[in-house]
Symmetry: C2
Subunit: 293 residues, 2 copies
């Protein structure tokens, strides 16, 4: 693929930002990659690792002359950062992001995008429980989905350049309406994280001898949950605050279902348990068939 | 280690039973391994795989002359099977099991154990979401915990022979009171499985277009849950029916904590979310330090 961008500015160089920088460099689709991070040590570290070509002293300096600007900061920082960079965006530039909630991304970035600059939000469905520029790697997006959610009426060339970017780093790309994305992710990602955080929190409140043993004998179920519940706290706080309606909706459904199971256990209704456990096993097969396992 | 058992009878030759047969054979601690399984195809398959030396036509035939008998059937089958084999147990034999709930194991096996036969229940904290004799493997217990829960007053030599068995197949062994075991496992294993089953069930009830996309875009959180929720339905039904009190207790704590988080999301209380998410991350580090990750 020929070089697609002259200068890519990555705002925030944590797990996702630094992985994208590595993947973009490996794909050879940017002449220059520059970053700004509110934590100067992270930016310097990314430079030292050779992940970016240049670190900027400010977000405004990073985006100056960039034809692609990617927000990879926690979503709570979007609006303020967008206001700060807006006057410095080059005409024809594309502004994108990697945030987990797309309606909120459009709400917070959209009003600051100048005439002649294109907003094309995106969400790579990829990640690990680790944070920071050292934890990133070029293969993070390989074989995973990237969902692109342009607002209605977005310039088609700009959308194609963003979908091409994600294809170039190895992802399968789907274009989707932002609100629909948020409802799907509420159940596949946001609710599971909320549950994992809760159950690990419940364990931390146990009397301390029991808690020691929970850690010591951590069986497969709990161990998996602790990995999920080790994800970045700032990022996830912002996800829940920004996808509130969809998360509360699926949480309500989940709670109803859990209450029904609780009742089945209390009354010894084994058939109801067996029926559900058989049904859920089939879903796993569907996911394996869809090659997402 | 010298041969410890003359004849080991494994009742039920699924994932755990067949893994134990493989591990015992590899460790060279049994002269003969025999199995009986209610599903004759499973027993025949285990024989064909070379996992056992012999298949018996009945449980009574399997245990005749055995100095070690291991129940690895779903817990709901314990009482009936114990009554069936009781008259055929050899004097001095040890009866053990691999079930996930130990108070119920003692309740269901204990009354059937004849004078001069030793009941030493055990629980290897190991497993996968797969079932059947083909899914077993000799390394399943390597580096995992095995918890042994002898009733008070159990013959010490019999206890040591069972702890030696689990050491020989690579496990770290801990002796624990049965009720305490059940409370620890309720939170580390039973509640996580219940939650995973629930959330995957909630997803199966979604309108079908959304459900297709949940499968297609299954992100890391949900994907992990579907793996847990693909575990054996019969085994898990019996776990919940047999550890009811402890599971309902931790479920109540969990529900309270989840309701508090739901409220925090509804009212936009980001600090409360951030505080919890930071606390749970520390637990993950403890588990990694305890080498259970």
């Amino acid at each position: 693929m020929s070089t697609s961008f002259e200068r890519v500015a990555i705002l925030g160089i944590g797990l996702i930002g630094s992985s994208l920088a590595r993947a973009v460099r490996r794909a050879g689709i940017a002449k220059q990659i520059v970053t700004f991070d509110g934590n100067p040590e992270h930016a310097a570290r990314a430079k030292a690792l050779g992940v970016v070509d240049e670190t900027a002293a400010s977000a405004a300096e990073a985006v100056a002359g960039a034809d692609l600007v990617i927000f990879s900061v926690p979503m709570g920082a979007y609006a303020e950062l967008a206001a700060e960079i807006a006057p410095h965006l080059a005409p024809g530039a594309i502004v994108s992001d990697v945030g987990s909630v797309k309606v909120a991304a459009i709400r917070d970035l959209g009003p600051h995008i100048p005439e002649g600059v294109h907003l094309v939000p995106a969400h790579p469905i990829a990640g690990t429980e680790n944070s920071g520029p050292d934890s990133g790697f070029a293969d993070l997006f390989t074989g995973r989905w990237a969902i692109v959610t342009p607002p209605p009426g977005t310039d088609e060339t700009a959308v194609r350049r963003v979908t091409d970017l994600w294809s170039a780093v190895g992802s399968s790309v789907e274009v989707m309406e932002a609100g629909h994305h948020d409802r799907v992710l509420a159940i596949t990602s946001h609710l599971p994280h909320l549950i994992a955080y809760t159950i690990v929190g419940t364990a931390t409140d146990l009397e301390s001898t029991l808690q020691q043993e929970v850690i010591k004998f951590s069986a497969s179920g709990f161990r998996d949950f602790t990995r999920i519940a080790a994800s970045d706290p700032t990022m996830w706080r912002d996800v829940f605050l920004n996808n509130r309606e969809a998360v509360l909706d699926v949480l309500q459904r989940f709670t109803e279902d859990l209450t029904a199971l609780q009742r089945a256990i209390r009354w010894g209704e084994g058939e109801q348990l067996f029926e559900l456990f058989t049904r859920t096993r089939a879903i796993r097969r569907s996911i394996i068939d869809a090659k997402q396992a």
